[in-house]
Symmetry: C2
Subunit: 290 residues, 2 copies
């Protein structure tokens, strides 16, 4: 199987699970499920669950053991986009090529759809077919990385804008990196009994990939195409935010992208050929145009 075929297959697997385990329930307040599923179905790349799945398989684990945890990360990611897009935050009306959740369903329901998905991430972990000890560990990993010392902390720094290279690194490590690290760690956890070195290597891969991913986002905000990206561009310069591009120029940002992509691939060295898919994934994410 070529890398492209394997990526397509893993993305389809992730997409199927993410939709299968999505929130559902009582008809009397079905509009909140519609709003939550609208954002879930709005065509994300499913990068995070794909990483969880790939790490789990790299370490010898099985799809059915990792996917509930992988989906939990995607639900956290989706809620964070819904809340980030709200008028009191980034006030974005376009996301993944379609109107944002609050444009479609109104602010109140979008707020509650976000809360629903945040809560549902943890409910999905609770309902995983896994021993209590594994569920407790998964809960500890995800809640630490998605909370105020992880992803939410990054959003807080983002509101006021990073003021230095150091702050920018912390912002990206938290806002984007934390969930990618969560995906990798949950993938390792679900594989069975990963040893400490495997765990650390997966984490190192994810940390560097997360930085590379965000730097690429900054570059696409300048060089990207609205139709291809499915979201508005030049948002960063319009809002006066410090990014890798504003700090180091477009060439400096591209050099940093190469650097962190290289570090991500290097972290996979101990896995030999089993790390090939994730290594190629890091390369393809650096080359993406959306």
């Amino acid at each position: 199987m070529t890398f492209t075929e394997e990526l397509k297959l893993k993305t389809q697997i992730a997409d199927t699970w993410v939709k299968k385990l999505a929130p559902s329930g009582d008809d009397i307040h079905k509009e909140v499920f519609e709003a939550a599923n609208y954002s879930i179905n709005a065509g994300g790349k499913r990068i995070r669950p794909v990483i969880a799945l790939a790490v789990c398989e790299m370490l010898g684990g099985r799809e059915e053991d990792v996917m509930p945890f992988a989906c939990a990360v995607e639900y956290i990611h989706t809620y964070s986009l819904i809340h980030d897009d709200l008028p009191c935050m980034d006030n974005d009306d376009l996301r993944r090529g379609v109107p944002t959740c609050h444009v479609k369903y109104g602010e109140a329901l979008a707020l509650l759809a976000g809360d629903t998905l945040l809560n549902h991430a943890f409910e999905t972990i609770a309902n995983a077919n896994a021993p209590g000890e594994t569920i407790a560990k998964a809960l500890k990993i995800l809640s630490a990385l998605s909370g105020a010392n992880g992803m939410i902390g990054g959003q807080v720094i983002d509101i006021r804008g990073a003021k230095s290279h150091e702050e920018l690194l912390i912002l990206h490590k938290k806002k984007t990196g934390a969930l990618i690290v969560a995906a990798a760690k949950l993938g390792a956890l679900a594989s069975g009994r990963p040893n400490d070195e495997d765990f650390l290597a997966a984490e190192g891969f994810a940390e560097n990939l997360g930085l590379a991913f965000q730097i690429k986002d900054d570059i696409l905000d300048i060089e990207g195409d609205v139709a291809t990206l499915g979201k508005n561009i030049n948002r960063d310069s319009e809002t006066g935010k410090v990014t890798f591009v504003t700090l180091f120029g477009i060439d400096g940002a591209k050099a940093a992208l190469d650097e962190y992509t290289g570090k991500a691939k290097a972290a996979l060295y101990r896995f030999g050929d089993r790390g090939n898919f994730l290594s190629q994934l890091a390369e393809s994410l650096a080359l993406r145009n959306r």
Copy 2:
């Protein structure tokens, strides 16, 4: 110890734990911890953690085993208030006698402080000093009751307003009742090995108490005093919401309050004298003026 002394003691215990386990972390985004703790410290009655503690003790369990779970419920409750008060929801500027979180910290930070507390509730469960099996069960109980089929579902119905007695009961059971039930079930869980009958009795107590609690809220919205309540009154009639008072009149609402308070007390029958505190708590909540 009189009931009043015991309530004061348990409230102090709950308050101390809720503050001790509150979100804290990196200085670089300390404003989100300040905003979250502002709402935590704004003087709630701590009813939910007190109920968890009292149920646990009634069944022979220990304070230190239940309080992390009890605090998790209080963090969910506090986040729901922050998000409920936002301009896109109830647009309230006064809560517990002080400006609401978004009035003090701005909407974006209030939104993220709410997200922080929702996430922190589950992180607090993850970090409880308990076996993995217990943590997994606690996660399942809380996530089901705080999510879109529990509390959030109630908020969704509340946005558009209940249209019938039946819908109003569902609204209250979810919006207010679900977290009170969560507190009781987590208290029973933390006590060790509650039998099924104990669990069901604690749940029955909490369901009826939750309804009584909300009916009393509806009555206070008409008869209460702004200074004593610490929030604005007549919000329900101003916004045209159907409540127990608008459906049945003030006397009908008071009769329903008595009915559900009586049912809550009856559910405690099997516990004999050990149920005295919770029975008196139900009575005192029906008589409260704030």
